[in-house]
């Protein structure tokens, strides 16, 4: 039997609220299927499963808040048959840990159902207080009111960010480096490319930055991975956490996977899709839990330089300030050029300033040949 547990969706999460099941008992699932939607303090996240099987029992009901690691459902592995004895035992243990409500068929009054439709409330997420836990009109209206409390959500998110950043500052001996990168070639190349592309196919400088960081990570594996249980584990693939700020305040840094092996077009598509899903609140669990390095880009309205705080358990953050024109001396000549300040915050337990400087120099070199990115 397979136990499907609530995964940690980032180091700032210790519990989650189950919003919705995407599967029911008897459904077969395969690796990567979305089986549930869980609300962290930051976002509603589509939780994927990484094993194959048939859903046996949904243990936790929508609406329940449970700690990371709680068994949410049990599944039968391929070839396994029903064994009720085991299931009962498991759900009993779990109930004593987290006391989640058991799943039951939703009862709902016709008035409540109508109101839920009007308010765009998913009735499966509403806790019923009527007879036999039926969902009443009042329950629906309370659920709607709860959804419309951005203040609480912001306070929760601020707390989650503070927890992760405090842990970072407490545990990670940061060092910081910065360098100015000339972008004359990259801006000209981008302008030329974009003049030939329709508005729907245009590239942003941000994807050149992402790709350059990822390629540099391949040569400097000590920047790319996680620090766990007292040791560094380098990651083969580069999953870049992209810091995306939310309009209502706060930020999320979900991952774009395998950045070093994707084309600029693919990265642009992934980035656009990710930003839209962050704002719409539909992120996948793998994006939240497995970035191997963070890239933050203040964009063209931002400040000149980032002094990053590493997102644990990662060991490095690369920050780009805004691209701006600046006097530039080269071969005895002074000219005005577009430049960007790139900074590195990295973990002294894993690397040192000498390697960090070479890493930044590699990013600079890669950005001089945008056509090869």
């Amino acid at each position: 039997m397979i136990e499907f547990k609530l995964p940690s969706l980032g180091s700032d999460m210790d519990q989650g609220k189950l919003l919705e099941w995407k599967v029911k008992p008897g459904d077969t699932v395969k690796r990567g299927d979305v089986v549930a939607v869980v609300d962290t303090s930051k976002a509603a996240v589509d939780v994927e499963i990484w094993q194959e099987g048939t859903v046996q029992e949904l243990i936790v009901a929508p609406g329940a808040t449970v700690p990371v690691g709680t068994v949410l459902a049990t599944l039968l592995a391929p070839g396994e048959s029903m064994d009720f004895g085991t299931t009962q035992a498991v759900s009993a243990t779990i109930s004593s840990v987290a006391a989640p409500a058991l799943v039951a068929r939703r009862r709902i009054s016709p008035a409540a159902r109508k109101r839920a439709e009007e308010l765009a409330i998913d009735v499966d997420t509403v806790t019923g207080t009527g007879p036999d836990d039926a969902v009443t009109l009042q329950d629906v209206e309370q659920a709607a009111a709860a959804q419309a409390q951005p203040q609480d959500r912001q306070a929760e998110m601020r707390k989650a960010i503070a927890a992760a950043m405090s842990r970072s500052k407490r545990e990670i001996p940061h060092y910081y480096l910065a360098q100015t990168i000339p972008l004359e070639g990259a801006t000209a190349w981008l302008r030329d490319e974009n003049s030939r592309r329709p508005v729907t196919g245009r590239l942003l400088m941000a994807v050149l930055f992402l790709k350059a960081v990822a390629l540099a990570c391949c040569r400097f594996p000590e920047m790319n991975g996680v620090f766990r249980d007292g040791r560094f584990e380098a990651s083969g693939a580069v999953h870049a956490g992209v810091a995306i700020s939310l309009r209502q305040g706060g930020l999320i840094a979900p991952a774009i996977h395998d950045v070093s092996s994707k084309s600029l077009e693919e990265l642009m598509r992934d980035l656009t899709d990710l930003v839209q899903r962050v704002r719409a609140g539909s992120l996948r669990s793998s994006e939240m839990s497995d970035p191997t390095i963070t890239v933050t880009n203040l964009g063209d309205q931002g400040a000149d330089t980032v002094f990053g705080v590493i997102y644990p358990p990662q060991v490095a953050l690369v920050g780009f300030g805004c691209v701006r024109d600046q006097p530039w001396a080269e071969q005895g000549m002074l000219r005005a050029l577009p430049v960007v300040n790139v900074s590195l915050a990295a973990d002294h337990r894993v690397s040192d300033g000498h390697r960090g400087a070479l890493f930044l120099a590699e990013i600079r070199e890669l950005l001089q040949y945008p056509e090869k990115l």
């Binding site: 508005v199 729907t200 941000a206 309009r247 930003v275 964009g299 309205q301």
Partner: protein
């Protein structure tokens, strides 16, 4: 297309990116992007939205004419004229 319709279309497109935006909050003759905090991705999505809504393709070389809300409206009025 009348200018009022273009104004409404621009505002509606902006609201898909900044849902909290109120028309009365926009100073239409002041720089738009930092007024309502549009990053480069928001800006590109705004232009894609205008493209889909009004069937205009806006080249990057024209971005300089799109600094204010009024500027965007008169640019589009010229294009759609």
């Amino acid at each position: 297309m009348y200018e009022e319709e273009i104004r409404a279309a621009v505002l509606a497109t902006l609201k898909t990116i900044a849902p909290e935006l109120q028309a009365s909050e926009i100073q239409t003759d002041r720089p738009l992007r930092n007024q309502i905090d549009l990053d480069s991705m928001d800006w590109l999505n705004f232009l894609i939205g205008l493209h889909q809504r009004l069937k205009v393709d806006i080249p990057e070389s024209d971005y300089g004419k799109l600094g204010t809300f009024d500027g965007i409206v008169s640019y589009l009025a010229g294009k759609l004229g």
